[in-house]
């Protein structure tokens, strides 16, 4: 079934007709051809494409060309060679290899047909052997049988393509021009996907667009917020528009599982993994890179899951997503993939490897791009049992020169954290103690933008503390660390430059014994939420790092997600049903920890703010606004006041109406009650007292004789 039909509705209908649904095999039902019962398929063209494939039934047949032309006596030998080559790739069907022979010359014709069990094998064989060199003069030319039809249809004469008239597109950035400067977010709950404005002034979400079954797994905003991507069985799609959400482009990729945008949202990477025909093999992975605007496949990667699995850490069946990491800032110029003993860096002009070869780095474990510059930071662990030290190096792309390198000893693991402008790189280094029985943690801090990239070593005061979380202040010079061993860890703040020490890292403060295990900096810096997720039941502490003071503490019970809006004005905390079944929904807070509104939704899956593109204001301009904030904020304060006045006015009016309506009810009831009074008395055997009458409280003195005793008192 292409579409999910609401089973409940279907069952209700069936019950109405007296049909027992449990007796029906739904898959066996076939619609009459050409009849869609008025259900318009979303996937008309995808569907047709599929049909083309299966029309001939030769999807699993390949044609191998450029074979040597041999006489009959050598026929068997050649056939043997060909069979040997192609059985390595897949199982050839019985009588599946046919090499035609010219009946006049009794020689082969220089090509053959091979039929596999599955189209996937055929596809793989085509890929692997196209261009295969049999000998000096014979290079295989392999094609799918089905493709011939297509090739034949290419007209011999070139026809100038029709030039379509220019149709101006919608303003996809329209949401940024909202008069109230609100932000949007998307939620998924049950089968519905909804986009809302965060209307903090009215303390409620304002609906923008809602669609049931919008996506088959999840939705994702593009990094600059222009598109909303949905994932379907046939591929991915992006949506956007000035006022509503229209489908802008579709990217056909059957069984797509994961998607990822490049940071400048020029490209979309899609991923799928397929069961192999031979259960011993690893899953087959298909990765496509699409141009977001044209929908064209720029490059595809196919292979077994092993080739894309790195380090075996997390991700989907051993593949850590995203497989391709984008670098070089917002220009989407480079992307790279970690391989065994190498990093493959591609550039997007030709979608090929830089210098046509991968960077060979023995035993490389991990790498990250600088968020701003084409610089790769990579980590290589110790080799040869400690003879060769572990190292972290910075490599410039496309030149591949090493900018800086740091050797590290007795390292167990490294994690790299870039500051959002690419100014600093922090490397969290777990080292073995001398006994090798435990580890302790230190930081290596790189100042990328300074000459020669100086490196500083930071160690915690208590060396035994475990690092629970680390986070850079976005666009700032500070970072926060949650560390500690016990159930209530400490939180420390450091700055890379202060007024006293411009070139040295210094500690700002340590907060002792916090119920926190995650850090969420405001995207504009200055404020951070110390959150206690999972084990801490959703404790939230809103902390001002400029003043080093707590602004508010709150709790969103069992919160699973914390998400700042892109401007840093509001925070959403959510309880998604993935982790916790009860109390699903989300809360919206102001940056300083005031709860603005709550929304409860059963089966709540996803909450995501729509990102904003970076501001066009220069740093100086931003500073100027921050300095003269009073002047600029006046306008908005006046607006706020108007809204709140209007709101209270509306509120009062609403309440007045409700009260009036209620009074009408009550009056009616009283009248009826009065009318029925006599009859009620009759039912009570003439007892006059009704509920309205007060009963009298009487004090009754009860004397009880407890004991009587007779006594003879002598009379004198």
């Amino acid at each position: 079934m292409a579409d999910i039909i609401n089973m409940k509705d279907a069952e209700a209908l069936a019950a109405e007709w007296g049909i027992d649904t449990s007796q029906i095999d739904f898959d066996s039902i076939e619609l009459p051809p050409g009849e869609d019962f008025g259900i318009i398929s979303d996937d008309e063209d995808v569907y047709q494409e599929e049909q083309l494939d299966s029309d001939t039934g030769f999807g699993n047949v390949i044609v191998v060309d450029n074979l040597p032309v041999v006489p009959l006596e050598k026929f068997e030998k050649l056939e043997g060679v060909v069979r040997k080559i192609y059985t390595q790739i897949g199982v050839i069907k019985e009588d599946g290899l046919w090499m035609p022979v010219d009946s006049k010359t009794n020689k082969t014709l220089g090509y053959c047909f091979i039929e596999y069990n599955t189209p996937q094998e055929a596809e793989l064989a085509k890929e692997k052997t196209n261009g295969y060199r049999l000998d000096k003069s014979h290079f295989f030319a392999v094609n799918m049988f089905d493709d011939f039809d297509r090739f034949m249809r290419v007209p011999d004469e070139w026809v100038a393509p029709e030039i379509k008239p220019y149709v101006p597109g919608e303003n996809l950035q329209h949401w940024l021009t909202d008069e109230k400067a609100r932000d949007q977010f998307v939620i998924r709950a049950g089968t519905d996907t909804e986009v809302f404005w965060n209307d903090a002034r009215h303390l409620k979400p304002d609906p923008v667009y809602k669609r049931t079954y919008w996506t088959e797994s999840y939705v994702q905003w593009s990094p600059l917020g222009t598109y909303l991507a949905t994932v379907h069985r046939q591929g991915a799609a992006v949506w956007g528009g000035a006022t509503t959400f229209n489908r802008l482009m579709r990217y056909a990729h059957p069984q797509v599982k994961l998607i990822d945008f490049s940071p400048g949202e020029k490209y979309l990477v899609t991923y799928s993994s397929h069961e192999p025909s031979n259960p011993r093999d690893a899953n087959r992975v298909v990765i496509n890179i699409f141009d977001v605007r044209t929908g064209k496949v720029m490059r595809d990667f196919k292979g077994s899951a092993d080739e894309f699995a790195i380090g075996g850490a997390g991700g989907v069946t051993g593949v850590s997503w995203p497989v391709f990491r984008w670098g070089g800032g917002k220009d989407d110029k480079y992307f790279a993939k970690l391989g065994k003993n190498m990093i493959s860096v591609y550039e997007t002009e030709t979608f090929s490897l830089i210098d046509k070869k991968s960077m060979k780095i023995e035993n490389v474990m991990d790498f990250t791009w600088s968020p701003a510059d084409p610089i790769i930071a990579l980590f290589v662990p110790e080799l040869g049992g400690g003879n060769q030290p572990a190292r972290v190096s910075l490599v410039q792309i496309p030149g591949k020169q090493e900018l800086r390198q740091k050797n590290l000893f007795s390292v167990s693991d490294c994690k790299m954290y870039w500051q959002s402008c690419g100014d600093y790189l922090a490397v969290k280094v777990d080292r073995y103690t001398k006994t090798k029985k435990s580890t302790y943690t230190g930081f290596e801090l790189f100042r990328i933008k300074e000459r020669d990239i100086p490196i500083e070593v930071l160690e915690l005061e208590n060396k035994n503390d475990k690092i629970i979380a680390f986070a850079w202040e976005p666009k700032g010079h500070r970072f926060a660390v949650i560390h500690g061993d016990g159930p209530r860890p400490d939180v420390s703040f450091y700055s890379m430059k202060t007024a006293q020490h411009s070139g040295r890292v210094s500690k700002l403060t340590t907060l002792k014994g916090k119920q926190a295990n995650a850090l969420f900096w405001s995207p504009s810096g200055h404020y951070v939420i110390l959150a206690g997720m999972k084990g801490f039941n959703g404790q939230l502490e809103f902390y001002n790092v400029d003043e080093l003071e707590t602004m508010a503490t709150a709790e969103h019970f069992m919160a699973t997600d914390v998400d700042w809006d892109p401007t840093g004005r509001y925070v959403a905390t959510a309880v998604t049903s993935v982790h916790h079944e009860m109390e699903n929904g989300f809360n919206i807070w102001s940056f300083n920890g005031k709860l603005l509104y709550r929304t409860l939704k059963d089966h709540f899956f996803q909450y995501q703010w729509r990102p904003r593109p970076p501001s066009f204001l220069s740093a100086e301009k931003e500073e100027e606004i921050a300095k003269n904030l009073k002047k600029y904020s006046k306008k908005y304060e006046a607006e706020d006041q108007d809204v709140s006045l209007l709101l209270s006015e509306q509120d009062r009016e609403k309440r007045r109406l409700l009260k009036k309506e209620w009074e009408d009810w009550v009056n009616r009831w009283q009248r009826l009650h009065e009318e029925e009074k006599l009859e009620r008395q009759k039912l009570r055997d003439g007892e006059a007292s009704d509920e309205e009458e007060e009963y009298e409280a009487k004090e009754v003195e009860v004397e009880e004789v407890l004991d009587v005793s007779e006594e003879v008192v002598s009379f004198e």
Binding site: K659, L672, E679
Partner: protein, 326 residues
């Protein structure tokens, strides 16, 4: 407002009822013994022994002389409030779920559960003023609704009976003919089982609580929906203040899931709503299990709640409660 904890039951509470004057509080629980308490200080006055199953519901006559109880032992019993003596036993074929006395206390409506081959039913019994003349015959038996009928009460002047239950539909029956007069509109009605139904003091409207996490206020004469109160927990019990425009909702997650989550996740507070504006105005915490029963003192100055935890909590309001403004 320091609540008075009344520990007298060994099993979850099922029902609470004040007498007309509001000086006595009757409590029913899944242990077999209905109990009467002083509504002022929570002192236990006595118990009514004789049932052999969970007691689901009770009602007390206007003169506070006679108590009627409905029990899962397939009986409803009449008791002398003062002495605790059993006056009469109505026998049924299935557990008796709810009971309500008519205006004038001459009639009682008793609902019975579906059990084995028996469907659920609403029975009307005549209550003799002299218990020695009491007979067990039904004046009227109403059948039809699917599933359990959780509550049936008398409409104005005993002319109608209002019933609600598992099928989430509210029905209005004619007591003269036994005909079904009206069903609540499914579009505006509850989406899940109705667990409780409470009439207003003047019997002009009533409130229903449902597992669909809402309570609804209805006109008793034409079953028109007046208000809806939305909450985030299944509602097991509802009541209305006779004094102020407040309604109280009690409930919580299903008792079977209580032990698996934190007590804060259970939502075991009694929630106060503004009756007219339908806005939540406060909550009273305390129970460590779902609230199964709620009752307002007829003077509106105190209320009591009974929980799955076996406690009855008696709350006298602070003076500032009566001056709440929103």
């Amino acid at each position: 407002m320091r609540p008075i904890l009344m520990k007298g039951h060994e099993r979850p509470l099922t029902f609470l009822k004040y007498n007309r004057e509001g000086d006595l509080l009757f409590s029913c629980a899944k242990d077999h013994t209905p109990t009467v308490w002083f509504a002022d200080d929570g002192e236990r006055l006595g118990t009514y022994r004789g049932h052999n199953g969970a007691v689901w519901s009770c009602d007390v006559s206007r003169d506070s002389m006679m108590l009627i109880t409905a029990s899962a032992d397939q009986t409803a019993k009449l008791w002398n409030v003062q002495t605790g003596a059993q006056l009469f036993t109505f026998n049924f074929d299935s557990p008796a779920r709810s009971v309500d006395l008519s205006v004038g206390d001459n009639l009682a409506v008793i609902t019975t559960d579906p059990f084995m081959a028996f469907t659920s039913a609403i029975h009307v019994k005549r209550i003799a003023s002299d218990s020695s003349e009491q007979i067990g015959d039904s004046v009227l038996v109403l059948k039809g609704p699917q599933g359990r009928i959780n509550r049936a009460v008398w409409g104005p002047l005993n002319r109608t009976i209002i019933s609600a239950g598992e099928d989430s539909i509210i029905r209005r029956w004619d007591t003269e003919t036994g005909k079904l007069l009206q069903e609540s509109e499914p579009e505006v009605g509850h989406k899940k089982q109705i667990t409780s139904l409470t009439k207003s003091a003047d019997c002009s409207h009533f409130i229903t609580g449902s597992l669909d996490k809402s309570a609804k206020l209805w006109d008793i004469r034409d079953l028109s929906l007046i208000k809806t109160y939305l909450t985030e927990r299944p509602v097991n019990a509802v009541t209305m203040s006779p004094l102020l425009d407040h309604v109280v909702l009690g409930g919580g997650q299903d008792a079977s899931a209580v032990t698996t989550t934190d007590h804060r996740a259970g939502k075991f507070e009694a929630k106060f709503f503004d009756k007219i504006l339908q806005e939540e105005i406060g909550g009273v915490k305390g129970h460590f299990g779902p609230i199964n029963a709620l009752a307002f003192n007829p003077d509106g100055k105190s209320f009591s709640s009974g929980g799955e935890d076996g406690y009855v909590r008696l709350h006298h309001f602070d003076p500032d409660y009566f001056s709440i403004k929103i």
